[in-house]
Each structure stands twice: as C-alpha cells, then as structure tokens.
C-alpha cells in the first residue's frame, strides 16, 4: 500500500484566498534572458517573488514571455481557461504592450513544467493581478527591443516605437520583430540589461485592450478539434472507473474482486478504500465496477437529511480553524440600538446546497514514464496545488509530477480539487498503461463538492427617519465573502459561524457573496417596509456615495423605478438589489408576474455593472449574461436534496438548471470607468439576482421570501 494515498484529497471547504485588505505597489524588475536566439523575459516583484520563490512554491522558474526568431510571442501563465476568457485576455495584454498582431501571440497556460505559478484561478484575480504582470513583462520586452533596434541605427530609443510587429524610428530605421530577434546575438545584447518597473500603455492609448478580440481557439472549439481533459488520448491508453460507496459515511468492509479480475482486459486496482479498474473501454470498466459493487460489503453510517439541514447546521457549529475560522466583527452597541430603534425586524434566510454542474464532469488522463515520473492532464482551477496533491498522494517529489490543464469545460469554483487526476494516476500505475477517466454525471453530483448551504439570521433597527441604526447579521456555514454590509450603520455585528457541513463543500461563483447578498438585500427591503419607505429611497438614504450607489442609481433609472409603483398592474412585482464583491459593483432590478397559482415568472431584468476599465466588452457582456442566468438557476430552481447519505436529485432531469427558455429579457448596462483599474468580472454579476427577485415577490405579495430557491 502506498503510505500517502489515504485521504489525500482534502475537501476544499472555502476559497482560501480572500481579497487582501491592502495592496501596495511594488517595484518590479524585469530580467531578460537569451534563448540562444530570441529572448525571454522574467518579471519579478522584488522581495515578493522570484525564481527561488517559484521553486519553493513548486513552480518552475520559467520566463513569463518569450519572443521567437519568427517574431511570435509566447506568454506563460499558471492561470487556467474554463470559459471565462482569460486566454484571450492575456494574449490581448501582451499584444497591447508589445505592439504585435494578436494572431502572433500564443498563451501557454497551466502547465506546471512550463508556466509560472500564478496562483489558482478563482476570486476574479486574473484581471487585477495576472494581466498587469503580463503587461509589465511585455512592456519590458518592448523597451529592450526598441533599445536594441535603435542602437543599430545610432538613434534615440525614446523616439522609437513598435506597431504591428515592426519597430520604427523617425530617423528612418525600420525592422521587424522577427528580423531583430533572429539577427541579434542575444547573449551579448542582453548582458546586464534589466528594466525597472516598465511603463504600461495608458488606458486612453489602448489599441487592443478595450476592443472585443475574437476568442482564442474559437475555430478549434466549433470544429470539435479542441481537446478537453476528457478528450486526451495517449498510446495504449485504458479507460478507468472507480468503485463508489453506496452512501456518504459508508465504509468498505470487504470486496471480492475475483469476478472483475476475471474479465478480459480488466485490471483491478485496490489500495485501502480505493478500488477501481482499468479496461480497454469505458463500457468494460463500467461492467467490471458493477461486478466489484456486487462483491462489496459496506458498513453504513449516519448522515443527516436535507429536510433537517438548517437545524443540523445550527446545532453543529465548531471552531473550524485556519482559513475555516469563525469570525465576528462588531461596531458600536447593537443590543442597545435594537432596544431604542423606532422599528425592529428579524429575519432568517436559508440557502441550500447547490451543484456547480459544469458541462464537463471531472476528467483526467494519467501516464507514468519508466522512471517514476507522472504526467496528468486534468481540469482544475488550481493546477499547481493539485500537482502537489497528486505528488503527495504517491509520495513523489513535486518535480516528478507534471500537470497539464487543457482548456476545460466549465469550473464556476467547482474544480479546485484533483480527485480525478489522482484516480487516473492510481489506475495507470496499477494497469501499466496510461488511463483516462471521466466521472459520470451521477458521480459529479454525488462526489464532487457543493456550494455551501447557509442559514443567515438577521436583525436590524431603523430610526424614525429611516436610517439603519442596528445591524446584526450571522452567516452559519456558507462563508465570509461579502459578509460586510455596505450600508451606513453605527451599530453592527457581522458574524460568520463555521459549521460541520454534512456535505463536502467549496467555492462557487462569487462564493458566499450570493448567500450574503441575498439575505442582506432581502432584509434591507424588510427594514425599508418597517420604515415605511420605498426600497430604493431607503437604500439611497443609507448608502454612502460611491461606485455601489452609482450602479444602483443607474439601474433604477434604466429600469424605470417608480416609488411605490402606484400604476403597476396588481399581478406585477418589482424589486431591486445591489452589492459589491471582488472590486466590482452590480445592481439588478427585476419585474415578476404572479400566475395566480402561487407561482410566478420573471418578466425582465435590468443589470448595471461596473468593474473599472473594460478590457473586452463582448466577453464582459457574456460574463454578465452568463452570471445572471446562472444566478436565476440558484434563485429559482436549484437545490440538492439528500437523505440516508444519498443525493436524491443528482441528474439534469431532476435538478433543473437554466435552459434557453429560462432566459428572460435582460437589459444590461456596463459603466466603463476608464479612470479606474480593471477588476475581474466573472463572478460579481451573479450576486444581486436572487434578492432582486425575492424583493419583487415581497413587493407584489407583502410576504417576505426568505428561502432559496424561490420558485
């Protein structure tokens, strides 16, 4: 038995990287290196990272950017592409700064042997962190290349410029990047050169960024040529399946492997609780696992059911520890303010477990070479950490494992773990062949992890002018993101309480901001009602000036918000909500129509979003639309049911996700703040959807809605 195998895949509980409170600008020095011919740029923030830090972190000290003798530019990043558009965006960043055609830029992503470790792809970090680093590296290369060209012409590099891959000087000098890269002795030319804090192009001068470039690899996707992790094929490859427990908390007592082992071409691999098989086809592997299941004896354990979930969470609080710790922030005296409020309100909001259900279930291919070195192709949002998990599982050095992540079929925070990679590697080791393994949809629903459920208890008070005087907000289990209320409140307590989750849980799009924004914004409408105020007027009274207020006012105007809706038909309801997370700002307004049977339809949505300077308008719009529609699923229909340790609705036919027909008319406006740094945008637009609809239902019926899903 391999000593390190058991329990190697730790559940990812909450996204571990919250936004730092401060970020200081650092001097970044770019070092340049000859590749024989052509050049490589290494960029480091001094004192923060560098080749040693990369090596310590398990990263390989590779360049950030290379310029080949044919003039093509290759960018290296540990970020991953799961549909959010980072491949295109990073290519645009390099093309912008280097003055080369976008078609000449390639991006090598998430290959642990070739790319620097840029951290996992989550928390909307690519835009505010990785894109600036790529731009600086490219700007450093541009600076050096112009210097090298101008030295040939004995010209002042300050007057040189590069555009469309050609360096020109007003004195008449002209040379292509390819010519310069192939016709320069880089060892000699680069000796002793570095660039201090290279200047990036001002937003006003952007030519590539700010425009909607075609999606990288679009043709490969539409022709079926792109190889997702589940499409990787290797010589002699087998297909794998793993024996799953019949229920959570079930423990394998014994398994008779004889029937499966007798099947032609089947290799059974057992290591502790891990039992799986590899076979020439997935169908044969399935049959073999069915035979294993028949010969398996399990000891079942207790597991709560979703019917009792919220009582269970509240009764099973714990201290957590580390990044799972409970948290409490207080200001003023909440108890006294509740006593003295002109009106007080209490609420209790419930958010269920839901599934990310990316279109591509977890998949991996694994191949061992003759020297104990392992290569895995898998879809994960944390390629370096998962590479480390894989190495730990087999007792390998990190450098003995190479993880390559082909652009993958969806993530949404749901692919932080490396389960499939470890399983494929284990089977490949046992079978002596490369193994491809893809989870079934059933497995994905049951054995991946879930967006945390949450119980959110709220209490608040307003004074006779409608100002919020007390705010008491406790989130049980679902997480800390956007826990802080943006409203002015002198007395407040904001708590996150860790609970022993009965299901494996982890990140999600915008994480707990979905739950926290739902409870907060729905409760704000309760406070507005207690103050006898229109919900919009109440928000504007209590919100400080700033970017959040700007999107709220813009959405209200665009939606045609009317205080009290005196002229609205009786069956209609109107709601508005807003929130900020990960440096971007959103307000959503919803109109619903009651159907007279207790049901309703979402008639229209209006969304105003602001994330600083827009880098790719078309992709941004698609991210907003996708967030909003995905948010409709969480708001209206998605909920995991479980009982006796089994997921009861783990199929698309039983767990309705949004389809074409579920898309309401959407009016979307982006405030392009070119005066502000670009923030990530793939998450925040999801957070105000559910509360806007809940508030519309409250407005229409007078009954507060406190539980998701709403339909």
């Amino acid at each position: 038995m391999t000593a390190h195998f058991d329990g190697a895949v730790e559940p990812e509980r909450y996204e571990f990287s919250e936004k730092p409170r401060y970020r200081f600008s650092v001097s970044r020095r770019a070092f340049l290196q000859s590749m024989g011919a052509g050049l490589a740029v290494l960029t480091f923030a001094e004192g923060v990272s560098g080749p040693e830090a990369w090596a310590q972190g398990g990263g390989t000290p590779t360049g950030r950017l290379e310029i080949g003798t044919d003039g093509t530019v290759t960018v290296f990043t540990g970020k991953v592409e799961v549909g959010q558009g980072s491949r295109t965006q990073i290519a645009m960043a390099a093309a912008e700064e280097l003055g080369v055609p976008l078609d000449d830029v390639r991006v090598v992503m998430s290959d642990t042997d070739r790319a620097p470790n840029d951290g996992g792809t989550f928390g909307s970090h690519t835009t505010p962190r990785t894109v600036p680093e790529v731009r600086e590296a490219a700007a450093a290369a541009r600076t050096i290349l112009i210097e090298l060209a101008c030295e040939r012409w004995d010209a002042d590099p300050a007057d040189g410029a590069i555009q469309d891959g050609v360096i020109r000087h007003p004195g008449g000098g002209e040379i292509t990047l390819a010519e310069l890269a192939s016709d320069t002795d880089m060892d000699e030319a680069l000796a002793g050169r570095s660039v201090e804090s290279p200047a990036v192009t001002a937003v006003a001068d952007w030519r590539v960024l700010g425009e909607s470039a075609p999606k990288a690899d679009a043709e490969a996707i539409v022709t079926g040529a792109h190889r997702y992790p589940s499409d990787v094929r290797r010589p002699g490859m087998r297909y794998g399946k793993v024996l799953r427990a019949p229920a959570y908390e079930a423990r394998l007592v014994d398994v008779d492997t004889a029937a499966a082992e007798a099947m032609e071409g089947v290799t059974v691999v057992r290591d502790g609780d891990f039992v799986g098989c590899a076979a020439p086809t997935t169908r044969q592997a399935q049959r073999a696992v069915e035979a294993l299941a028949e010969g398996a004896e399990w000891e079942l354990g207790d597991h709560p059911s979703s019917a009792d979930l919220f009582e269970y969470l509240k009764a099973n609080t714990g201290s957590g520890g580390g990044r799972f710790s409970s948290q409490e922030d207080t200001e003023g005296d909440v108890a006294e303010a509740m006593e003295n409020g002109a009106a007080t309100v209490r609420g209790s909001y419930k958010v269920p477990y839901i599934q990310h259900a990316p279109m591509e279930p977890r998949a991996a291919a694994a191949e061992w070479d003759g020297e104990g070195r392992l290569t895995v192709w898998t879809g994960t949002q944390r390629p370096f950490d998962v590479r480390n998990d894989v190495a730990d599982a087999f007792g390998l050095q990190r450098g003995q494992v190479r993880l390559i992540m082909p652009d993958t079929g969806g993530g949404f925070g749901g692919k932080h773990t490396g389960d499939a990679a470890i399983e494929a590697a284990k089977l490949a080791q046992g079978a002596g062949h490369p193994v491809s393994l893809q989870w079934t949809r059933d497995e994905e629903f049951a054995w991946a992890y879930f967006r945390p459920a949450g119980l959110l208890e709220t209490a608040g008070a307003v004074d006779s002018d409608g100002r919020i005087t007390a705010w008491d907000f406790t989130n049980y289990n679902s997480g800390r993101a956007a826990l802080q209320s943006p409203y002015n409140t002198p007395n407040k307590r904001e708590r996150f309480q860790f609970c022993d989750s009965p299901l494996r849980e982890g990140s999600y799009r915008a994480l707990a901001a979905v739950a926290n924004a739902f409870a907060r914004e729905a409760f704000i409408d309760r406070l507005a009602a207690a103050a006898d105020m229109d919900p919009l007027a109440f928000r504007l009274l209590n919100l400080p000036n700033g970017r959040l207020r700007d999107v709220l006012e813009a959405a209200a105007e665009r939606f045609g918000w009317s205080a009290g809706w005196p002229d609205a038909p009786a069956d209609r309801g109107y709601g508005i909500a807003c929130g900020t997370e990960k440096g971007s700002y959103v307000a959503t307004a919803a109109e619903i129509a009651l159907d007279g049977d207790g049901g309703f339809e979402v008639e229209r949505l209006c969304v105003v979003f602001e994330c600083g300077a827009v880098q790719h308008p078309r992709n941004l719009r698609a991210q907003i639309e996708g967030c909003v529609i995905m948010g409709l699923g969480a708001a209206l229909t998605e909920e995991i049911h479980f009982e006796d340790g089994k997921i009861l609705n783990g199929r698309f036919n039983a767990y309705p996700v949004p389809r074409f027909r579920d898309t309401p008319p959407m009016d979307i406006e982006v405030l392009d703040r070119r005066d502000l740094p670009s923030a990530g945008a793939g998450e925040t637009p999801i957070i105000a959807v559910a509360p806007a609809i809940a508030n519309a239902l409250f407005q229409a019926t007078g009954e507060p809605r406190e539980k998701l899903p709403l339909a």
Binding site: V82, Q84, A218, M359, G410, G411, Q438, A622, V628
Partner: protein, 157 residues
C-alpha cells in the same frame, strides 16, 4: 463482441464492440472522434449530439445497433467543402462560446434546425435549442449566432 458497420462523415468504419455500447463511447474511444462530449448519459443535456440521418440525436443513449446503417454526422464532419459550416462561422462571429464544451452539440442541433426552418424567429430558436444545456449560460449569444447563421445562409442562397 459484435461487428458493426458505421457510416460516419461520409466514410465507412467497421467497429468490433459490445453490442450494448453507446454510439458516443464508440466514437470517442474507438474512432478518436472526440467532438461529441459526454455530459449526462441520459440525453438530458445534448452535449453528445450527432446527426443520425440528419436528425439531432443524443449519442450517449444511442446503442450501436441503432446507429448501424444510418448516415452519422459528427461535428468533425459538418464543415462544407473544407471550410466551416455557416453555423460554425456564426458561433465564432457572435462569441457564442465560453468554455465551449456544449458547442459541438449546439452547432449540430442548430444546423438541423436551420435546414428544417431556414428562417426561424427567436421563439423557434429557443424551442428548437431548448434540449441543449450550456452551463456557462451563454444562451443570448447562441441565439444571436443561430440568427446570424440563418442570415448567412440567405446571403449564400
């Protein structure tokens, strides 16, 4: 094991396989045609769509025996005269993909839809495409792409 004759993208293939194996697994594992994707195994998401005698069909629930003797078209064989099919071009033009995993199934479904109804209104597109799930929820751009493909077809005609 049984021998099956399959006609795929205009070429004949002989496959020896379990008779109850799905067309999807056979395409992906025996013929290296990985454009059709596994998404759910119950025909509920249509990532595995292929055309069977021109009709969009969930290959994950199609046994080989039902595919034999039929004209099978996968995303790899949809292009026309070595170039892209108008629906493929329209998906590129309208950014109708995020992760793209659902896109081969979407394109084949749309191609069949437009063949039967060259001038669909938005409601016809929504109802014709509703069986296909895009978890990135890129539906608005996909609808725009199908509309654009219809216009491209008209321009060609």
């Amino acid at each position: 094991m049984t021998e099956f004759m399959l006609r795929i993208n205009g070429a004949d293939h002989t496959v020896t396989s379990d008779p109850d194996r799905s067309l999807l697994q056979t395409l992906r594992e025996d013929l290296d045609l990985t454009g059709a994707k596994y998404g759910c195994g119950e025909g509920a998401c249509r990532s595995c769509t292929v055309l069977l005698d021109g009709r969009p069909t969930a290959a994950c629930v199609t046994p080989l025996s039902r595919a034999e003797g039929r004209e099978i078209v996968t995303i790899e064989g949809l292009g026309e005269d070595g170039g892209l099919h108008p629906v493929q071009q329209a998906f590129i033009d309208e950014h109708a993909m995020q992760c793209g995993y659902c896109v081969p199934g979407m394109i084949l479904t749309a191609a069949a839809l437009l063949r039967d109804n060259p001038d669909p209104d938005p409601e016809a597109i929504v109802s014709g495409m509703n069986g296909n799930i895009c978890r990135c929820c890129n539906y608005p751009n996909i609808v725009r792409a199908v509309e654009r493909a219809a216009a491209l077809r008209h321009a060609e005609a």
